[in-house]
Symmetry: C2
Subunit: 333 residues, 2 copies
DNA sequence: CTGAAAGCGCTTACAG
DNA sequence: CTGAAAGCGCTTACAG
């Protein structure tokens, strides 16, 4: 067990513990040769400052809270990788808070996070309710803890720094692509449950459709495969369709499955597109055309912005919009 | 900002800070009415003990390290949910350590984790190298930090508690299923990169094949779709095949895509099965028969075991094997 | 059942 | 550039 403490290092390096502390935290304040002597002892002893003592004394934790509302999102893992890689570079540890669906107790979480004394908060993915947004604002304004939103859409956000892509534009471009293919009856397949990010996709779709003088057709279904399969079967009996843009890859694939079961060939009869560029898109047949969201980068850039904020550096751009791209595959012509 | 401390509570409740501390940590040691008075003040003030001070004084952190070697695994998110739900119940906070692929610096991580003073460690998923295993043993034996492996296969493990399913048996059963369908040329499609969990699947496959007097055929390919598509095309030109069991759903789907491109009907000509029961399996056409791994439960049970160990409770079963099941869909007959 | 006091292992003004 | 000392906010023997 024999934990080595700062005293052990000081003793062996023949300096005071204050000097050891400085050698670690403010090396420039220590004379080069003593600094080296101290650092040598540190590595000999394998000394690592106790995080609690350090946090208590300095009021800094070099810890960030990663708040995840929904762990099952396909993009989660990839975004976490982006965050983790940057966190590693800047020596931050990640505290993971997965929101509980049953009872979102912001009050409790607030206290937990404050007790944990995190230096920053990064909020992942899509949905943030008004309550949650207020909670994040409280953290920032009253507790002075920097907050960054990554891949999170909040329409009235003009307070918190964010990193995302322009979903409205992406949907606009994708819709234009189908229009240029000559499609006239293009449906946007969105979700029954309301997601702000899907609202943006719908807006972009509507803008392109209206510009082209076509009539907008938005269908809302479930993300659950067995449910939406039924729904597609029923719905498209009575609707003419030659284009489908789904808000998620998996929904697009689900639609393609129904189309194939009904002997409707894709992309000959219907062009289909999705969002995200997941593995579903590549494994599907035909392979799915979709918007590629640079999810790793969103995480990495978000964490980088957070490190700047935690370090009191100036962040000029509040709302960072990364480039997306459209990946054309076999489901469109 | 005004952080409320234990002194504020003590003052207002007219007791010493020791009593406040006891009211929180050892309520039974405090007279009921003082206890209630203290707790009332605590909730009035919204007091939450500072985690650092607490950790420093008590040497306990109510924090567990969740070590994730590979975040991109499909099972990751679901297992995290299981862990998080139980962690929440027992009031543990999760520190997330995502291993760096480039340089697995166990030494550094060990120091980090020790510095963080976690009460327990949970190691997720599949691979653990000999070095990593040694590292975990060191944590347990020298630093006295309980460790639990979840869904992690280590052949020589007889030290660390683990929660998993019996992959050998699952593969054995799946192979038997295809044999009963009358398949004679059943391939196991495994990975080029060596994974211990896939070794187990191969063993189970071999056992069933040998029992049936058939000849074993193991093919190894890449998990990357574009690579294995090529590979499948090439390989099966020269091989007779009427059954395929892939070590992962996505590989099975990839194989089905190649089969369809070559106008080989599934399951008429070839039965195909996978492992995990991911969304790929359901979105594929035909829908994929596969082994269902109760991944949420593995996480939840693992965390539960860890709470017991951290709480010095006895854990009778060192190696917990949860039930799996085989989900028959359209890719087998 | 309760309080005074030591101590956990650091950081950081303050002197020098 | 370096050291002595206070203090961060708790827990926990030790008395009573």
């Amino acid at each position: 067990m024999n934990k080595t403490t700062i005293y052990d290092v000081a003793l062996r390096a023949k300096v005071s513990l204050a000097t050891v502390s400085r050698a670690i935290n403010n090396p420039e304040k220590v004379k080069p040769d003593t600094r080296e002597r101290v650092l040598k002892v540190i590595s000999e002893l394998g000394y690592k400052p106790n995080a609690f003592a350090r946090g208590l004394a300095s009021r800094k934790s070099t810890t960030v809270a990663v708040i995840v509302p929904d762990m099952t999102r396909a993009s989660m893992a990839e975004m976490m990788n982006g965050i983790a890689d940057i966190a590693r570079v800047y020596k931050y540890t990640m505290l993971l808070y997965i929101l509980d669906h049953d009872e979102l107790n912001e009050e409790d979480m607030l206290r937990d996070i404050i007790a944990a004394q995190v230096d920053g908060i990064i909020y992942l993915n899509d949905e943030v309710t008004a309550d949650q947004y207020d909670f994040l604002l409280t953290m920032r304004n009253e507790y002075n803890i920097p907050v960054v939103l990554t891949n999170t859409v909040y329409p009235d956000n003009n307070e918190l720094p964010s990193v995302s892509i322009d979903y409205e534009k992406a949907a606009y471009e994708m819709t234009q692509l189908l229009i240029k293919e000559g499609r006239k009856n293009i449906f946007m397949v969105s979700t029954v449950r309301k997601y702000m990010v899907n609202d943006l996709k719908e807006s972009g779709y509507l803008r392109a459709i209206e510009e082209a003088g076509l009539s907008p057709k938005i269908m809302r279904t479930s993300g659950r495969v067995n449910v939406n399969t039924e729904h597609f079967n029923e719905y498209f009996k009575n609707h003419v369709v030659d284009g489908v843009i789904a808000v998620r890859d998996s929904i697009a694939v689900s639609f393609m499955n129904v189309a194939r079961a009904n002997h409707i060939s894709i992309p000959e009869k219907i062009s289909v597109a999705g969002f995200q560029n997941t593995k579903y898109a590549i494994l599907a047949r035909p392979q799915l055309t979709c918007v590629d969201v640079p999810i790793y980068d969103i995480g990495a850039v978000g964490m980088r912005v957070l490190t700047k904020l935690m370090n009191q550096e100036e962040v000029t751009e509040k709302e960072i919009v990364l480039d997306h791209s459209i990946i054309k595959r076999q489901s469109t012509r």
